[in-house]
Symmetry: C2
Subunit: 223 residues, 2 copies
Amino acid sequence: MIPATVRQPLSRERILVAAVGLADAYGISAVTMRRIGEALDCEAMSLYYYVESKGALVAGLAEQVIGEVVAATAADPPGATGWRELVLGRCLLARSVMLRHPWAPQVIMSLPEAPTVTYAIYEQLVGTLVDAGFTYELAHRAIHALGSMVLGFTQELFEPADGSAPTMTVDQMQAMTETMPHLAALATPDIHGTEGSLSTCDTQAEFEFTLGLLLDGLDRARA
Amino acid sequence: MIPATVRQPLSRERILVAAVGLADAYGISAVTMRRIGEALDCEAMSLYYYVESKGALVAGLAEQVIGEVVAATAADPPGATGWRELVLGRCLLARSVMLRHPWAPQVIMSLPEAPTVTYAIYEQLVGTLVDAGFTYELAHRAIHALGSMVLGFTQELFEPADGSAPTMTVDQMQAMTETMPHLAALATPDIHGTEGSLSTCDTQAEFEFTLGLLLDGLDRARA
DNA sequence: TTGTGCGATCTTACGTCGTATGATTACCTT
DNA sequence: AAGGTAATCATACGACGTAAGATCGCACAA
């Protein structure tokens, strides 16, 4: 056994950081007790002194990511004016955190209960909205609407991750033109103004657009 | 070995139906090769004659659920007038399918590529929208917005599934009133018009409200 | 009738996972 | 030096996905 002077002592924090690193680098399925142990140069069973179970560890992962969101959105930008600008900025920051940890939305949504840190985000959001004249009822709905966007919008609906591979042959394209004309039009460049808006799927722009719709709608519902 | 006359022959369809049944009844983690075999009265390895791997089986699960959505939304209601009513109805139907299979959104979002059946839904949606005067660009955005709602809104953000257990003691409530006053107000009945809008979290109403915001926004963007 | 071929199913086995149990270590206190 | 305690490890078990090959049952040819 390597003496403690040579090796950092274990801790819940160090375990969670290592697990996040594994998930970021190799996907959530690589987060394994034995692999975490390997990364921390200890045996898998040693982790159980700091973590109750694999489930608790996964909950810790979610907590870690949501903590990042809290840290990123704690201080509002100096020049921000109005609730819309504030909330928009926070949602974009939250999304950027999720994009850094693509496994996070799935993990968060798989939990039976929201991690405690989450309430800090909600508190801040409700405060901002109520100050801007929202009813509590409407603020509650805003939480749902915005939360499901940040967690649900990360994944692409089309395209296998990156649009590098031309997954469709000419024949398939021809067949598609007949059976699904609208999707074919959507996928074909130069058929409707901009270039094929299906192949060039700018998810960030889609996100901001949809978020804008929601914020506009909430603003109208405020009255 | 039980002769074939006594026992239905295996098939990909039967395997997928059994797997969906397991997932509905016991959660997605109960969907196991051995358990499916048990349900179909065969050995786990026999499934591989019809299913390439566990991953392919999971993709098949997603396909099955999305197929349910297609079936439910194939025929529009007779009295429906206008794209908004049509799309609203389809989204509600899609959501009702997801609520029957709470594991489905996670499974669908975990896939590297959308199942082929999905395109039928998109084709129908884009057709309806383009007919109503949407540009293809805007229709594309509508797909993203509505899709992420149907898949992302199913899970509760608060509350451990059902609100039966009073998870908070009086002390915790007191502490919360000080550190998170807005959430406390949100959770407290009779403090703001309606009764506590956090404890009585009518997710269906939240969903319909948010969906309404999106549809209104899309309608405005149409011009 | 007796092969014979083949599609469908089963048996066995391997490596990996989470984790229960109990031993073992390193270090502090006296 | 002795003993106690917190931290770490070694071993083991059952469940998982699945590779490789054996085995079954039946249709058809001789």
